[in-house]
């Protein structure tokens, strides 16, 4: 089930009681970020926030936390808002297998209503604001950025749609942080090796399905637009950019077109990141914006990010877990049961698997380290048996506390890659990684006293069914 555009999704949230409008006047700082931080402290079923009365602005409208809870994530997939997380994971995995779904092309889009090509001033056009106190400035942190592979522009899947933090550093200038494990770093490198600027387009205020696909660790040659179609179950709607051969999401509120300036680096940051730490300041590439178009009275979408959990964790929890799940299943189709890589973007991954023989679970853990996402994340991999639900942390802790023998089951692999934002990496981008095998030893790995696992009284399943009906 597809949402027509961003506003269509906000309307659904409102209908479902998952959108809270704040009509009292708020200050851009610190009120908007503070309200969102507070919201995240209130649990995992919170609504989106809509601010329409912001001090100093006349008609600014800001939507936040649009996908910042499990009910909102379920609604993104068109499922009932109270769908349990594990069910959302398996439904996402089922739709993931319908990839690719070819896109639907349109000639015009609602965002063509207003167009600006002269004297662009992003500080005038967008209601920008600071999130965390140590941030170096105002950021776009829920915008998707589109770019194309220069060596192979005709392979559709190599057009990249990704989410990157972008600091607004001038009236028509943005700073971008290209993490080397992400696709944008490849495109910037290709352009700079040629001494050319890289054409890019940025879309703000998108339907949640493209934001989800853009933040899924797809393979390099898999199209995010074709994945968005698979997830929503019908073709995703795109329209061409004006200054470059790039596809734009039809339902966006605001589009910025521009180019990454070849060979230029400028001070950027720090920014309060998903790791719960500031990133530090470094010299990063710069994007010059040449063209802006937007809907009348556009809604500016933004997200609060900081100490986990925040919106970003709901946004990329399930869709980070699923590619790891699929890639592990490619290697071990009969064993892998489920993967939970929801913690800090998958710096921790929990894998539930059957085991074929002694030592098998450790091999599963090592395979996780060599998946594309594992190369930049998966610092700690916990492997549990098939009957442990990796989304149920008390069960995972039970497995760790009873199945793991530190002498045999803790494996440390030295000197691997990690995204440089990991504050523990030293130097930035390098780390040891650990596999904790919390599965039951099986032959020929014969150790411990595991022949008498606890069973349940007879008839538990029937009582579960009966009681859950009585409790509705």
């Amino acid at each position: 089930m597809a949402y027509k555009d961003f506003r269509d999704f906000l309307h659904t949230l409102e209908k479902e009681g998952q959108l809270l409008t704040i009509s009292d006047e708020v200050k851009p700082e610190p009120d908007i970020a503070a309200a969102n931080r507070a919201l995240h402290n209130l649990g995992d079923k919170t609504p989106a926030l809509f601010f329409n009365n912001i001090y100093g602005y006349t008609d600014a409208r800001i939507a936040m936390n649009v996908m910042g809870s499990w009910p909102n994530h379920a609604l993104m997939m068109g499922m009932p808002k109270n769908t349990p997380l594990k069910e959302q994971f398996f439904e996402f995995a089922r739709r993931y297998e319908q990839f690719p779904m070819p896109v639907k092309r349109e000639e015009t889009a609602p965002f063509h209503e207003v167009e600006i090509t002269e004297d662009i001033n992003l500080f005038d056009i967008l209601p920008l604001f600071r999130l965390n106190q140590g941030d170096g400035g105002f950021y776009l942190d829920k915008a998707i950025l589109v770019s194309r592979d220069l060596d192979d522009p005709d392979t559709y899947g190599k057009q990249n749609v990704g989410l990157y933090r972008m600091q607004v550093k001038g009236k028509n200038r943005l700073g971008i942080q290209p993490v080397p494990q992400h696709d944008i770093a490849i495109h910037i490198r290709q352009a700079e090796e040629r001494g050319e600027n890289l054409k890019v387009a940025i879309a703000l205020g998108c339907e949640p399905v493209i934001t989800t696909a853009a933040s899924t660790p797809l393979l390099y040659d898999q199209s995010e637009y074709e994945m968005a179609g698979a997830i929503q179950g019908e073709p995703y709607c795109v329209v061409k950019a004006k200054d470059a051969d790039l596809d734009l999401p039809w339902g966006a509120e605001v589009i910025l077109e521009g180019e990454v300036l070849a060979g230029e680096r400028e001070y950027e940051g720090p920014f309060g990141e998903f790791t719960g730490h500031y990133s530090g300041g470094r010299a990063m590439p710069v994007i010059q914006i040449n063209r802006v178009y937007h809907r009348k009275q556009p809604i500016f979408e933004h997200l609060y990010i900081g100490m986990p959990w925040t919106e970003t964790d709901y946004m990329i929890g399930v869709n980070t877990s699923v590619p790891l799940f699929q890639q592990l299943k490619d290697a071990f189709p009969n064993e892998i049961v489920a993967v939970n890589a929801m913690y800090t973007h998958g710096l921790v991954a929990i894998i539930s698997t059957k085991t074929r023989y002694g030592g098998f679970a450790k091999a599963v853990g090592m395979r996780a380290l060599t998946t594309p996402h594992g190369l930049g994340y998966c610092k700690l991999v916990i492997v549990v048996d098939e009957d442990v639900d990796p989304f149920n942390l008390p069960q995972v802790m039970w497995a760790l506390s009873t199945k793991l023998h530190p002498k045999h089951d803790a494996v440390i692999v030295p000197g691997l890659s990690i995204l440089p934002l990991d504050p523990g990496s030293d130097p930035a981008g390098m780390t040891h990684k650990m596999i904790l095998d919390a599965t039951t030893p099986i032959a020929p790995d014969i150790r411990g006293h595991y022949s008498q696992p606890l069973d349940s009284p007879l008839g538990v399943a029937e009582w579960e069914e009966k009681l859950s009906h009585m409790l509705r």
Binding site: G136, G137, G281, A283
Partner: protein, 78 residues
């Protein structure tokens, strides 16, 4: 000209004014790229109260690590 609360250069300039007259201005420092709104708390706007851990020395800026490094031009790619 305004003093940047972060690097204390005096080169900051107004990049926008509030649509409602007189509410605030947004300033940008071209040295350390710090951006702030005049209506923010003084722990952000006042150089004396800006958190010391986040202060930036203008002399360090040219030495900031390049992320990613600028690659060599490759001849047959142009």
């Amino acid at each position: 000209m305004h003093i940047c609360p972060r690097c204390e250069s005096n080169r900051s300039e107004v990049v926008t004014r509030s649509p409602v007259k007189g509410a605030w201005e947004v300033l940008l420092c071209p040295v350390c790229m710090f951006t702030w709104r005049t209506s923010e708390p003084d722990s952000i706007t006042d150089p004396a109260k800006y958190k010391s851990a986040f202060k930036v020395n203008p002399e360090d800026i040219p030495n900031a690590a390049h992320v990613p490094p600028i690659p060599e031009r490759v001849q047959d790619r142009s």
